[in-house]
Symmetry: C2
Subunit: 340 residues, 2 copies
């Protein structure tokens, strides 16, 4: 069971990019009635903001994400932050004639790190919101307002995204796993009661970082490369050690015993880059899934929702995560809360 | 608190290799009285074997480890398994005039995978032992018989290995984390009661595999490279995102937010290999430490012992693991049980 606004019932996860983003925001424009509107008529999350915001900016570790004018999204890597701020100044503030301090909010660590640069470029200090609070508010907004947000990923189904509607009332409590450059894991008991219970530094930045050192590709090139690879040529499976199953422990021959273990065994052998990148994606995704399960058990939670830019509708990532979990969620939650 | 026979009170972890191995086996020859001999006078682990074994062989995913004649050890990578078997035939069996089936045992997945090759080369079928059972028996033997086996690693102390004696009686139950090519995590309640409760494919083979793809070095070259590197040039710290602490979550500026995250942020920037290898070692070690903590909590265990060839007395590996745990153990347990 889970949620993901970028995919509809009829489409597979292979379609991403700006068209899907426009669809997402079109869906937001025609906002569906909140699923549990009856139950919480005065909920703060459903009230329109006093002053509608023109733009919202989320500057994370690797990416700066901008949402503006309800329809458009803009993304730049963090080293291009100046270009991003110039874009806001020229295309949003000057066109709108707006006062940035009234019309824009920001979140993410970059809101603090680049505070002076932002103030200098936009000519005014922007309001800063805590990123965990934004994350939860964005997530709750999506859960309540976007139809077909909740699905699970079943690699044997066609399409693989199996949607489940009207599940919100039973959604709390859940574990929210936000996969950015690193991973934060939050226990969410209600829209206003949550805590960060754990995390891991092995996240999207690790896949991107090691992947780019191995291949030189950017994030989406790496994902495409992973689709073409065969991880069994790089990973050491149980069969590579035992010649078959390790029956005494119930470990099937195909279980990965050591990620990149074959690259270690015969390092001089030439490797296909796609195989290595696929192995890397599986390594990172499996580890996040395993940690999420352990934290969920520790906190007696049975629902795990995944979000963050690392997943972005990529089939393999979801397949590997759901091998552990049968639950996947992803959305761009941070800047969304600022926007609404 | 913990155990590690390859390091004595006066020496640092930098001394490894054959001299240390000889010291280990010399110590075994003059076996110390079992610490809890009084409590368990008829324990099977303290009885001498009916027929003393001449050699014991443990063929894992990456390495074949051989112990023979109480003093010598021999190690080859798995692709060199034929050379290893020839060594046994020429230097042990022919010199000793022994029947291999009576004088040698073997364990590890390779005992199954290379069964035919072993039988053909040695002219006889060797007895196979389950590797988890060997692991536990070797570990218990070390705990009971080797003085100064138990220590904790404190990077601020000189030497960093702080030994604690006579702790065995209170050692059970504990979590045993065996770091080979992959990682197995066992709950050990007594010498004869244990179960594999978890593991991870991110182990020594992952460090060796990714490391060799990045640098071309072998395992020990990689460890030396890691000693020279600065992971902060490759890892994204909280300060790289926030410009300082993320105070609201209590995350210090120096905490690693995303392993290899800076390599992702500016992939075109030339990287020092040593920095990347150090980051890789920290990534793998931290993750094992975190998983070990989570499994220990899940099973209500307060003691975690680390073993396996990945650690091999390397200071950084132990420092990083003990940042999470304050407990480190390592020894070559698999072939040891076969040997005794």
């Amino acid at each position: 069971l889970l949620l993901f606004a970028q995919i509809d019932r009829q489409k597979t996860a292979t379609e991403t990019g700006s068209r899907k983003c426009r669809e997402l925001f079109s869906a937001m424009e025609a906002i569906a009635p909140p699923l549990d509107n009856q139950a919480r008529p005065n909920d703060q999350f459903l009230q329109p903001p006093v002053t509608p915001k023109v733009f919202a900016l989320d500057i994370g570790g690797s990416l700066a994400k901008l949402a503006y004018e309800r329809t458009y999204r803009y993304k730049r890597s963090v080293p291009q932050i100046e270009e991003c701020l110039e874009f806001i100044r020229e295309n949003i503030l000057q066109a709108d004639g707006a006062d940035a301090s009234q019309r824009g909010d920001m979140t993410g660590g970059g809101a603090y790190r680049f505070k002076d640069l932002i103030t200098r470029t936009l000519g005014v200090e922007l309001n800063k919101e805590d990123e965990m609070e934004c994350l939860i508010r964005g997530c709750v907004f999506m859960l309540r307002n976007i139809p077909d947000e909740l699905f699970y990923y079943d690699k044997h189904a066609t399409p693989a995204h199996v949607f489940v509607s009207n599940c919100l009332v039973d959604t709390f409590p859940f574990l929210l796993v936000n996969i950015g450059s690193g991973v934060s894991i939050l226990k969410v008991e209600s829209p206003t009661s949550y805590s960060r219970v754990g995390g891991t530094s092995i996240g999207g930045g690790t896949f991107w970082g090691i992947g780019s050192m191995l291949s030189g590709g950017d994030f989406d090139q790496l994902l495409r490369l992973a689709d073409q690879g065969d991880h069994r040529k790089v990973d050491m499976l149980v069969r590579d050690i035992y010649g078959g199953d390790y029956a005494a422990l119930g470990l099937h021959a195909d279980v990965i015993a050591s990620s990149f273990g074959l690259a270690a065994r015969s390092p001089e052998q030439p490797r296909c880059l796609a195989d290595a990148i696929k192995s890397l994606l599986i390594t990172v995704s499996n580890n996040i899934g395993q940690l999420a399960c352990l934290y969920a058990k520790q906190h007696n939670l049975t629902r795990i929702l995944f979000g963050g830019f690392f997943i972005r509708g990529h089939g393999l990532t979801m397949e590997v995560s759901s091998d552990s979990l049968s639950l996947v969620h992803t959305a761009h939650l941070g800047e969304l809360k600022n926007y609404i």
